[in-house]
Subunit: 688 residues, 2 copies
């Protein structure tokens, strides 16, 4: 095998895996998952530490299939040895829903007599069934059927013309679909009916729609971003190097981008230090607020129920990404055992990030100005109506910044004339957008200075000493209190705005030579809504990971996804994933191989500004080195401009360092003011 | 007068004002402030509404001077009429400290026998006094002298060579300087002495310093940003137009950038709507945590004690700003009545801001991708060791995003060998950086839909109905509770992370046609530390504005600065500014001309990564239109790429809209994959 053990399964590996499974278990299986079983960590760490002496981890495919009797099996296939290692019937669980399964529902709804009847009740003509569209969601959990059969719920929309904007035209009933039977098995019909709102002028975002509103604005001049000398990063297969950062860029069906073995390796190789063994978004849940059934079922687990990898967009140069861009394709299985290529599934590029640091000496205007750079690794996925642009941003100062931009379309429901809804906003006449939350779970497999690690909370607070006391005479004393999270129980923690709580992932055995404090990375995250569905609610039971902002567990192979491996139709009794793994909370996570799970996101109370398509709303957080480096690790980034006091005193006319960007121009032409070296390198005082 | 009433005083107006004052009150006055008295709002609003029928507000200079007896006077000069309107002796208050006054201290310290003696005690040679440097701060408040005389405290540093990094070498004593006497009047000497740390290898950020660490990195390839067809904004004097935004860009000595009359004016002029009458950063305070006197005096009010305008940097094209940049100069008075020109005090430019919105239809991969743009109005000021880059960012979707990047150098103190400090971090051997906060006060003079306005808190919370009840059967109900802040007392409010509190500035008489809710702008701010010095502490008394995250007051002319007009040496008894204006809290702020004051910022627990120069740390917040527009206001931004379902169905080979950026390139060369119009406009499903 030529590839890296972290590499996703290649097309030929996918084909090998399906061929081997079919050979053993039948040729008419439907493939739900064929994906890399990630290398066992013990084996992998040994190989990474010394690839010459230690065996390379084997290539193993993780496979989930459904047979013609709707029975689900999962297994492991060793691709090196060409044999099935394990094969089990999946009972009491339901596998992910694939895009192929979602897409089939629309056609079946259009032909289903009961659906046609309901469409007529809603005010449609039976002859207009080709104008019906379905956004098909996993049913969530419905106690009438439980886990006994696979079920999808079809959110119903209407398009007067093929290019109409369906989310303006929601229908009020909800068919349930069984993908194994390929049938509508039930329709949930509200007690109070809300006819289709054809009475409102159409809206949308097509050129024709915009033309009706006055046409596109014509006053935006192009901005050109280019790197004529090439990019500053390099790729060795999927191993990326940029500005002291090293990592492997993986991808799987569930999480999309997976970053492995994130390290800081200095130019002279004097440092080669672990930071994270693995980093990904591992799950999310989107609870909606409308309590009236069946709306309570709207709480999508986009990763666990559909797969952020499966739903990943092909990105386009000059549209999704601008500048000099590197793309990586993805390959995923199809239901019939083929391979689907997602071209440009991941994009990687650099961006100028403004001033990295600056200081002017007010005495003489001697100055340093250094511009910064960031590296962005991006994926965008479409979950029916919503889009999520996930950016993994790396900075030169050692900061890692996961950022998600939310855009796309609101999930909508029909609002009757004169109706008022306590749990949604009428974003356009007749269009109700229910309140909802987007709660993402970031999984950080910590490896600070190659571990073991311990997590602490850090709370800034006033000294206990009263104002006027000997130790606090003027009352200004404050500090950061560090609390060790010794067990999984203690580690269930929440954000505290009173103390601006952050979390430190610490290697207590690696002491910083400057500060005498242990090496750490700090999680700084402020976009941390609580799970608003109440304790004991269906969502609370199913999304155990979202009950607290931070959990810490001891690393175990295959504990990857915090709502569990098979999320569809879980009842939450018991809660799967994190709550199972934590149990009674007594396990030690002190000085161990630890995983930190962090839930963050936003609560979305829609407004008309979000319709018909939402301006991207960012959610971000920072992972910052603290006591990890013994000085500013970006000190060696070349400045744009630097002058010295001694030069200014001597009246020298050149800067000590001048890499001013000569391509920058005054906005309205005219003379560029040259930087005056004597008395005025950016400062304020030389002309006094 | 040809200029705009919001324009700062021009050089000739500054000269007129000083000439008129000197004529009346003597030629040897020292000028502390000569600045525009902002137009009275009633007169100004009338003129803005109908400049033909209503008088243009007069040009009035606000002047503060100090005479040879150290007596301070302040007055108003009508520049149209050429006469002094008011002239008063300032008693019980001290004016701002100017850069000129700060710069003088160093020379006087070098020659002061007592300072020389203390330097010798610290381990310096008396012959090395030219190696002494002072960062001179306002004394803050010291009860030994109170407000009776002007006092500055000199934080002492040493430079072995002129280009050495002084913040590595702090001295342990603190001279107090009287700028009126031009003398050192006292030296605060600690009980336990800490000699100068010459025992540690020097560090710094000059090329020579970096050379010792291995030299600059050489693997950063240039990124070129250009606008060959020019910029998309225009300037009429200081009135700026960009993408439906209109505003006036002002500047004063205290706040730096002041934005006035911020409006949304659509292309076809069907809308011309007020948002903010005035927006600025109005004050800040930086309390340090070390309780041992005299460190308690370190709590700089950088705006009120020194002036963010006075300390503003001249910005350099291609260093501070990249791309196509427009600059505006500033002119401020000198102590002797002259004019100091700050070239390029403000820069204005556009940036690509990534995806503005995107949606892919998972059925056929029909797609819209629209890239966004932001406008940045920036100022950078140097407050002795720290730099603050203040960006006022405007987005096409109606969002306003004030953002501050903090960089520069930590304030440092000497740390003795083996010493441990509970209130600071040893960021480098011998260098103690005390914990501190940066609390900024954003002043929003609200004008949502041309007022009057009311402020509400908005708290997302679960329904009161229990899980399993008729109204909340599955427990998922939640909503945003709105609480009207009717009086100034009720409006003293704080962030609540449990509810992700935001604040809505509402025009209750302007109802959104889509939602039926009133027009508003929402303040979304998460970087909101509490003032950590305790209630009753010196800082708590002096920085009354920082006790709560939000205050609302009824607009009054001249209530601009929340710690008061003259901040130096205030005792906080009584607290000046906001606490005075609010009084007993009974005044109505419901449906009034209201001003919202918001304190935000960060608590900085330093680490070695912040030394010797700090990587820029951003603090940001959002002002978002909610129910202000009846749809996404950026819907008419031309897409990069748009395809229609009907096109894909017909197999057309062209997009409905294609403005793909053809200058973008693959990072490592090779073929660009063209966007396939049929089945794959960025989507995920066409290849199933």
């Amino acid at each position: 095998m030529a590839g890296h053990p972290f590499d996703p399964l290649s097309a030929s590996e996918l084909e090998d895996a399906t061929r081997l499974v079919r050979k053993s278990y039948g040729s008419d299986l439907k493939f739900n998952v064929v994906s890399l079983q990630e290398p066992r960590k013990t084996v992998m760490r040994a190989w990474l530490a010394d690839p010459k002496s230690n065996p390379k981890p084997p290539r193993v495919a993780d496979v989930v299939v459904i047979d013609n009797n709707a029975t689900v099996h999962e297994g492991l296939v060793d691709l090196d040895q060409g044999k099935v290692l394990a094969w089990d019937k999946l009972e009491g669980e339901q596998p992910i829903i694939t895009l192929e399964e979602q897409q089939k529902v629309e056609q079946i709804c259009r032909e289903d007599p009961e659906v046609i009847k309901q469409c007529e009740i809603s005010g449609m003509l039976a002859s207009d069934m080709h104008k019906i569209y379905c956004d098909t969601w996993v049913v969530g959990y419905d106690e009438r059927w439980g886990i006994s059969r696979r079920l999808q719920q079809a959110l119903m929309y209407y398009r007067p013309t093929p290019d109409s904007f369906q989310y303006q035209y929601a229908l009020d009933f909800c068919p349930l679909y069984d993908p194994d039977l390929e049938q509508i098995v039930h329709i949930d019909i509200p007690k109070v009916r809300r006819p289709l709102r054809k009475d409102v002028p159409p809206i949308g975002y097509t050129p024709a729609d915009v033309q009706k509103l006055g046409g596109y604005r014509d006053d935006m001049k192009p901005i050109i971003i280019s790197q004529p000398e090439g990019v500053s990063f390099s790729m060795n297969g999927r191993e990326l190097s940029w500005q002291n950062w090293k990592m492997h860029v993986g991808f799987n069906y569930k999480e999309g981008i997976v970053l492995n073995n994130i390290r800081w390796k200095s130019r002279n190789e004097s440092e080669d230090r672990g930071i994270f063994y693995r980093m990904s978004l591992a799950e999310m849940v989107v609870p909606y607020a409308e309590p009236e059934p069946p709306h309570h079922r709207k709480h999508a687990f986009d990763f666990g129920e559909y797969g952020a990898g499966y739903m990943t967009n092909s990105l386009a140069l000059g549209c999704d990404c601008k500048g000099a861009i590197h793309y990586i394709d993805a390959e995923v299985p199809t239901r019939n055992g083929g391979v689907r290529l997602i071209e440009n599934a991941i994009c990687i590029h650099e961006e100028d990030s403004g001033i990295l640091f600056k200081h002017t000496d007010f005495r003489d205007d001697s100055v340093v100005v250094t511009r910064g750079r960031k590296l962005v690794i991006q994926q965008i996925f479409t979950a029916a109506n919503y889009e999520y642009a996930i950016q993994w941003i790396f900075h030169q100062d050692g900061t890692i910044q996961p950022e998600i931009k939310l855009t796309g379309i609101l999930n909508t429901y029909v609002q009757a004339p004169g109706e008022n809804c306590d749990w949604g906003t009428q974003v356009y006449p007749g269009v109700n957008a229910h309140f909802h939350q987007h709660l993402f779970c970031l999984r950080l497999d910590a490896n600070i200075d190659d571990g073991p690690n311990t997590v602490y909370t850090s709370d800034t607070m006033a000294s206990d000493e009263p104002v006027g006391s000997l130790k606090n005479p003027y009352g200004n004393a404050f500090f950061a209190k560090k609390t060790k999270l010794s067990t999984t129980g203690q580690a269930k923690t929440d954000y505290d705005a009173m103390t601006m709580r952050s979390w430190d992932i610490v290697n207590d055995s690696k002491i910083n030579s400057s500060s005498g404090k242990p090496s750490s990375y700090k999680l700084v995250s402020r976009e941390v809504p609580r799970l608003l569905p109440k304790e004991g609610s269906l969502v609370w039971k199913r999304a155990g990971f979202a009950r607290h902002h931070v959990y810490v567990t001891k690393y175990r192979d295959d504990q990857l996804w915090p709502a569990g491996r098979h999320v569809p139709q879980t009842s939450g009794e018991p809660s799967r994933g994190l709550p199972e793994w934590i149990g009674d909370g007594s396990e030690s996570v002190e000085n161990e191989d630890v995983v930190l799970w962090h839930t963050f996101g936003l609560t979305h109370i829609p407004a008309p500004e979000d319709f018909p398509v939402m301006p991207a709303e960012p959610v971000t957080l920072l992972l910052r080195p603290r006591h990890f480096f013994d000085r500013n690790p970006a000190l060696d980034v070349p400045p744009s401009y630097l002058t010295l006091p001694s030069q200014i005193e001597k009246g020298e006319r050149t800067a000590a360092y001048d890499a001013t960007d000569k391509m920058s121009k005054p906005a309205f032409g005219g003379e560029e003011k040259t930087i005056p070296i004597v008395g005025g390198g950016g400062g304020c005082c030389s002309k006094l």
